[in-house]
């Protein structure tokens, strides 16, 4: 269980990181918190030629909250977002979602933007970003672009980041007054990846849910009729079975958790 050999560079500025990534293109992988990447290296499921370590980019270690939402820089840890009172005030769903990610020790090192770039369909933050219609800002030597959540997640562990690009910031929008949110999930053990999870927003105008763990990307569903939401969720997915849960059980959970999330957000 040791990582394979790789070349390593530690960037001391964003420009330096982008220059190295631009030069190496698809041969390079960004190392942020490493809480997903390092196990993948150790299990030899990933073998990049080059790692570009961005942990020293302290200029990206921010959680900035404005009236319109919360912006999280690439080196802000899950724990930084979890402990930020302003972020929790403007978008309470963030703290509740972050507390479902693994354990405090992992959250001390793992990064918010890294979780998004990793694009694990069972992770909480991609679903939250999709639910809120958030976005990811990416930079490269060619400039920056803002990618909407619905265009960012392409498949299991696959985002629309191109070789040479670095995800530098995530934007989680605030919601209008009177809107309520919730997140619920079922995991085999506390802190494990969820078998299925659902986050929801609800207001006088309507309801929306995002499902995690039951499709290759977060699945956002507009809910026209709350009473029929569980059936809508069940009929919208085609989950894959694995050693943790059968497809049928995941489908069942999707219905139950959708109803529960909407009830909590009522």
């Amino acid at each position: 269980m040791k990582p394979p050999s790789f070349e390593y560079s530690r960037a001391s500025s964003l420009d330096e990181a982008l220059a190295v990534l631009g030069e190496l293109g698809g041969e390079a992988k960004v190392l942020a918190g490493g809480q997903s990447l390092v196990p993948l290296l150790s299990m030899r499921l990933a073998a990049p030629r080059h790692l570009v370590d961005i942990n020293r980019l302290s200029e990206l270690a921010y959680v900035r909250t404005c009236d319109d939402g919360v912006r999280v820089g690439a080196t802000a840890r899950h724990a930084d977002l979890e402990r930020d009172p302003d972020a929790a005030g403007v978008q309470p769903l963030l703290r509740r979602a972050v507390r479902l990610i693994a354990h405090p020790t992992i959250r001390n090192r793992g990064t918010v933007v890294g979780s998004l770039a990793h694009a694990d369909p069972a992770a909480e933050l991609p679903a939250v970003l999709a639910l809120l219609d958030g976005s990811v800002r990416v930079a490269s030597v060619r400039g920056t672009r803002e990618i909407a959540a619905r265009e960012f997640f392409l498949g299991t562990l696959e985002s629309s980041l191109r070789p040479g690009e670095l995800a530098v910031e995530a934007f989680f929008p605030a919601l209008p007054p009177g809107t309520r949110t919730s997140i619920v999930e079922v995991a085999r053990r506390h802190g494990d990846y969820a078998l299925c999870g659902v986050c929801a927003v609800r207001s006088g105008e309507g309801a929306r849910v995002a499902l995690l763990g039951v499709a290759p990307t977060p699945l956002v569903l507009d809910v026209p009729d709350v009473a029929g939401a569980a059936e809508l969720a069940r009929s919208s997915i085609d989950p894959t079975p694995d050693i943790h849960a059968s497809a049928e059980y995941r489908r069942h959970l999707a219905g139950v958790l959708t109803a529960r999330a909407l009830q909590e957000a009522a």
């Binding site: 490493g34 390092v38 196990p39 150790s42 370590d53 020790t105």
Partner: protein, 151 residues
């Protein structure tokens, strides 16, 4: 690559390949074998050390990535041969049997009590939720957290 690690206040200069995990660097290069390696993929918590005061998995960090940072391992908890309050509480409450997981619990709880000096029992359980122990059934570890908080 040459890396300087400041472990328990002592600076060490070591030459390591980029792929060296911090857990292996501590054990093999620095001969600080108090940090134990269990699952080696971030699940069991045995290798937990404090990085700039915060608990982290040393098996999920590259030694080159923490160049120049302050690390506290289980060897750094006792002072002048006297057990720290958390270590003493583990001894008093039988918070360990085989001892394999203990270094990770001690570092985790030391930082946890610094942040929350007076936890409820539920908070104590949450504090140690990321650490696995196959001997104790956790009861005595929870008792040790409570005792360390209120000796």
């Amino acid at each position: 690559m040459n890396v300087r690690l400041v472990v328990n206040g002592v600076p060490y200069d070591v030459e390591v390949p980029p792929r060296r995990l911090l857990s292996d660097c501590l054990r093999h290069d620095l001969r600080l074998t108090g940090t134990h390696v269990g699952c080696e993929h971030g699940v069991c918590g045995a290798c937990t050390v404090l990085l700039d005061g915060r608990p982290v998995r040393s098996c999920l960090l590259l030694a080159v990535s923490v160049d120049g940072l302050e690390i506290t391992t289980v060897e750094g908890l006792a002072h002048n041969g006297e057990l720290s309050p958390v270590q003493q509480a583990f001894a008093d409450c039988h918070g360990l049997q085989c001892g394999f997981c203990t270094p990770g619990f001690l570092t985790t709880i030391t930082a946890g009590l610094r942040e929350n000096p007076d936890p409820t029992e539920d908070e104590a359980r949450e504090m140690i939720a990321g650490n696995l122990c196959r001997c104790t059934g956790y009861q005595n570890i929870v008792a040790a957290v409570m005792k360390a908080a209120r000796p």
